[in-house]
């Protein structure tokens, strides 16, 4: 039955009027759509449900106070682990459960495992995956905070009563802290991420803790002469004068030279030469202590950013939508995916590619570009990075159990791709395990083994950047891509 009134309501001329209104409305709605997302980015709103969805170990409050209370005992254990790192000439600490091959350690970074989240056996869903990622992330940051406390205490003790033993203790503490952070490097999303990379919720905290690829020796040497570390604003000074990288130079570089050009102030005015060995050593100890304190401060900021009582980023990651920086689960998983891309750019291209001279060194090898050439732990760093990668890709639990991107592939019927990626993953693991002696030596003496790691990682990242991205429909960070059609 046709209603004549209704029919007349759709006459073309009248509809033209309606059309104009609808068009204007649609215009306004779509114009406001993006603004809504931006509002989410900057509100930092928390939910009353914060902290109630945590699973296992992740439900503990990562407040700084509680961690500090545990730091005494844990710090001793980690210092021991760190010593193993040093004694093994840069191999990763191995007091955790062995995963595959010879180097993956699931305590992550020489940790005792007390900060590992309990990973429940769950079937894959994006929500469950995000919960496990969040718990895993908090566990990594908490682990690092414990090591940062130990590092800060050891550095302080080394200033108060400098002896060879105290110097070794602070180096061990740095090694343990660095090993822990190298796992956490992969978790570069949310507060750890860079706003320049368009990652949602970015607070630049990774760069505050470890500013690798920014700077070099000269900024630290200039800061040493200028006593920048003793100034009130040291915590907000340029990141290339702070962080684990600066501390590595201060603690491990034995030379008395500097890397600044001759025309720089510390050389042209003779202020570096005027320091003398004794004063230089004293300042390096004080500088290292200031850096350690700053690293600890930023580690605590990072934990606080995830804490339900603080920034509650855990809630933002696990409960995307209103009140979160992520509009939906897919966007939150995009952010995690950007994190694991560290293995392509930073590990393959920077940590291996540049020293190998694959693109930038016209003269051949560039061993001076190795990441940790003063502490000689460049290989250990890569192994720890790979541990972090597998924790996110395969699962955060022991032997990489738990939910990971591989389970997501399985859940949507891309099991073939999952199999090929795991094969590539194992091949890369074997190549990394075979890096013996460590990079600082093998880059010149066993170059073929370093190339083997580079090639194996390339095969993995070729899949990661193409097929993997396609079937999971992972996208560039929000805002970086403009519109699409």
């Amino acid at each position: 039955m046709k209603n004549p009134r209704r029919q007349s309501a759709f006459r073309p001329n009248d509809l033209g009027r309606l059309a104009g209104l609808v068009t204007a409305g649609l215009l306004a709605v779509l114009a406001c759509k993006g603004l809504e997302i931006d509002e989410n980015v900057y509100t930092g709103a928390t939910s009353s449900r914060a902290g109630t969805t945590s699973t296992g170990g992740g439900s503990q409050s990562p407040a700084a106070g509680g961690s500090q209370a545990r730091a005494g005992n844990s710090g001793a254990n980690f210092a021991h682990a760190g010593r193993e790192v040093a004694e093994n000439g840069g191999e990763s600490a191995t007091d955790g459960t062995h995963a595959t091959g010879g180097s993956g350690e699931l305590g992550g970074s020489g940790g005792s495992g007390v900060h590992e989240p309990e990973i429940p056996a769950e079937v894959f869903s994006k929500a469950a995956f995000l919960r496990q990622v969040a718990d895993c992330t908090v566990a990594r940051y908490r682990d690092f905070e414990v090591h940062a406390v130990a590092f800060e205490q050891a550095a302080k003790a080394n200033v108060a009563q400098p002896t060879d033993a105290s110097a070794n203790a602070v180096r061990d503490a740095w090694l343990a802290a660095n090993a822990s952070w190298q796992v956490a490097e992969i978790f570069r999303f949310g507060p750890a991420a860079r706003s320049a990379d368009e990652d949602l919720g970015a607070q630049e905290l990774r760069d505050q803790i470890y500013a690798w690829r920014f700077g070099g020796r000269c900024p630290v040497e200039t800061a040493l002469v200028d006593k920048l570390y003793a100034a009130a604003g040291f915590g907000s000074s340029l990141i290339n004068t702070r962080g684990l990288g600066a501390a590595e130079y201060l603690l491990f570089y034995p030379g008395s030279d500097n890397e600044c050009p001759s025309y720089s102030a510390i050389n042209s005015k003779g202020t570096w030469a005027a320091l003398g060995l004794s004063e230089s050593a004293t300042r390096k100890r004080a500088y290292a202590a200031a850096v350690a304190a700053n690293v600890l401060e930023n580690a605590q900021k990072l934990l606080a950013a995830w804490d339900p009582a603080g920034g509650n980023f855990r809630h933002k990651l696990t409960q995307p939508g209103s009140g979160s920086v992520y509009p939906n689960e897919q966007a939150a998983l995009n952010a995690v995916w950007h994190g694991i891309f560290y293995v392509e750019k930073e590990v393959k291209d920077y940590k291996l590619g540049i020293p190998l001279g694959v693109s930038e060194c016209v003269s051949g090898l560039c061993p001076e570009s190795l990441e940790s050439r003063f502490a000689n732990v460049s290989t250990a760093n890569i192994r720890q990075n790979y541990v972090g990668f597998r924790r996110l890709f395969q699962g955060c639990g022991g032997n990489y159990t738990g939910l990971g991107f591989d389970d997501w592939l399985d859940a949507i019927g891309a099991s073939d791709l999952r199999g090929r990626m795991l094969t590539a993953l194992d091949a890369a693991q074997q190549a990394i395990d075979a890096l013996d002696p460590p990079l600082e030596v093998s880059i010149t003496q066993q170059t073929d083994r370093v190339w083997a790691v580079y090639t194996a990682l390339k095969q993995l990242t070729d899949l990661l950047k193409s097929e993997f991205v396609s079937v999971l429909d992972l996208e560039l960070p929000a805002g970086a891509g403009s519109d699409n059609d």
Binding site: F10, R11, P12, N13, L15, G16, R17, A19, G20, V22, T23, A24, L26, L27, L30, A31, G34, S125, K126, A127, N328, E329, Q330, K345, D349, G353, G357, V358, S359, V362, G364, W408, A411, I412, G413, A414, D416, L417, R420, K458, T461, D462, L463, L464, K465, S466, E467, V469, S470, V471, L472, D473, L476, G479, A480, G481, S482, D483, N484, D485
Partner: protein, 466 residues
């Protein structure tokens, strides 16, 4: 035949209410104003144009340079002003041509920013600038009543309708392939990743949703212009248009595209439809425009030769619009794979394609081989676009060739180790790894250095199953 041409000429010259064109001018100006302000507000100018150290150029347009950041920002503000002037009908002709030139110039800055709807916006700006759209419901007409007209030649109406028909028809034909119709790809991949959206998420993730929506999209695109041409069906067709574009706009990040299409199809309505809205305005306001709104178009053309020139230009434009999207036929193979004939062809959202590429640079004189990652030259967005588009790969290869030669390693050979996944398929090589790209020049001919597309079907993916 001559009689028919004359009859057609008479029809095209016959006057038709100009209200539709004025309404289109207002809405189009507002849409582009919104688009321009989005660029300014979201920081896209710096991301897309300032941050990259290398810019991909269109073939034949390598001379277009990216201005400094300050000038770019100023240009966008100027564009915003021009959009407002077009919408208001103030200094219309100059503003509309300025808008066309400015918008087109911005698109020529970097190929990786290419979007079909930006191309459409440029074309519509050109048509608008050439049309008498500023003679009705405009400030020009208000302040210079001698310019005001109530009618325009029917040819303008047909030309705009033709343009919209071309967009939909080719967008529909671009979907007439195996992946889209029989494997529901890439729509299935996109819909599965949206299963967590509120309300519609669980629906679009159902197994049947992707095939149904693929066919619906194909049928919609190929039929909607023709349905809009039938007066009895037009209201229902327009509701379909709104429903379709709203759904697409909600599901996918396609910015202003739905708005542009929803307003563009208004050209299919009776030319007088805006007058109903006009009648709702306060009487005093209408009275101010009344004098300017009563003049018909000139009863007879200034000269037949002038009309002949316009007809010839119009016919050439229409011929180009039909022929250019069909150029892919000259290349054979899958245009979604080799991309020759992909742009400016209304192939809207027809592929999910991602790649990984490493350039292998061999310097015989230095005895060295370098492996160059694209991120050394490109932003993430540029790298993602480049990695699956052969002509962009070639451009970057040339840049790398020049760069390495400048480093003093002598002449180099550049090859591409390129792995690409099309619609979720297993990765295949896109570029012949044996070809030295440093010696290949880009052109319109078939690129034999692009390897054939994969022959296997895309994988059968499904929603997350517990």
């Amino acid at each position: 035949m001559i009689e028919r041409v004359r009859a057609l000429g008479a029809v095209l010259r016959s006057p038709v209410d100009s209200a539709w064109l004025a309404a289109f001018r207002v809405l189009f100006g507002l849409t582009l104003l919104t688009s321009t302000l989005r660029f300014l507000a979201y920081g896209w100018i710096d991301q897309l144009f300032v941050a990259p150290q290398f810019h991909f150029k269109y073939w034949g347009f390598s001379w277009v340079k990216v201005p400094p950041a300050g000038e770019l920002h100023a240009l966008f503000w100027l564009m915003a002003g021009l959009c407002a002037l077009v919408s208001l009908g103030l200094l219309f002709r100059a503003a509309a041509f300025g808008l066309f030139l400015g918008f087109t110039y911005l698109q020529l800055l970097d190929v990786t920013t290419y979007l079909n709807h930006y191309y459409l916006a440029s074309l519509l700006a050109l048509l608008l600038a050439c049309s008498p759209a500023g003679q009705t419901y405009s400030l020009d007409a208000l302040w210079r009543p001698q310019l005001a007209r109530r009618t325009v030649p029917t040819a303008w109406l047909y030309l705009f309708r033709f343009q919209v028909t071309v967009v939909y028809t080719f967008a529909g034909l671009a979907k007439a392939h195996h992946d889209w119709l029989f494997h529901a790809e890439p729509l299935r991949i996109w819909l599965l990743s949206r299963a967590d959206m509120p309300i519609i998420g669980p629906i679009v993730a159902l197994d049947w949703a992707a095939p149904v929506m693929s066919w619906a999209g194909f049928l919609f695109d190929t039929s909607i212009p023709w349905l809009l041409m039938v007066p009895r069906l037009r209201p229902y067709a327009y509701l379909l248009v709104i429903g379709f574009h709203t759904t697409v706009g909600l599901l996918f990040p396609i910015g202003m595209f739905p708005v542009i299409m929803v307003l563009s199809v208004l050209v299919f309505f009776s030319p007088s439809w805006p007058r109903k809205l006009w009648g709702r305005l306060p009487a005093r306001l209408r009275a101010r425009f009344a004098a300017a709104d009563t003049r018909p178009a000139p009863a007879s053309p200034a000269s037949h030769s002038r009309y002949r020139l316009w007809y010839a230009l119009g016919a050439a434009y229409c011929l180009f619009q039909v022929a250019f999207p069909l150029r892919f036929l000259a290349y054979g193979g899958s245009v979604r794979w080799h991309e020759q004939g992909m742009r400016f062809s209304w192939r809207v959202m027809v592929r999910e394609k991602n790649g990984s590429i490493t350039f292998v640079v061999r310097a015989p004189r230095a005895g060295r081989t370098f492996y160059v990652a694209p991120h050394q030259y490109l932003t993430r967005l540029q790298e993602r676009e480049m990695s699956s588009q052969p002509d962009l790969i070639l451009q970057l290869a040339h840049r790398i060739r020049d760069d390495y030669a400048a480093r003093g390693v002598g002449p180099v050979e550049v090859r591409a180790d390129t792995w690409v996944s099309l619609n979720g398929r297993a990765i295949h090589r896109l570029i012949d790894p044996n070809v030295d790209l440093s010696r290949i020049e880009d052109g319109l001919g078939k690129a034999d250095w692009i390897l054939p597309e994969p022959s296997e079907p895309p994988p059968k993916l499904h929603a997350i199953r517990s």
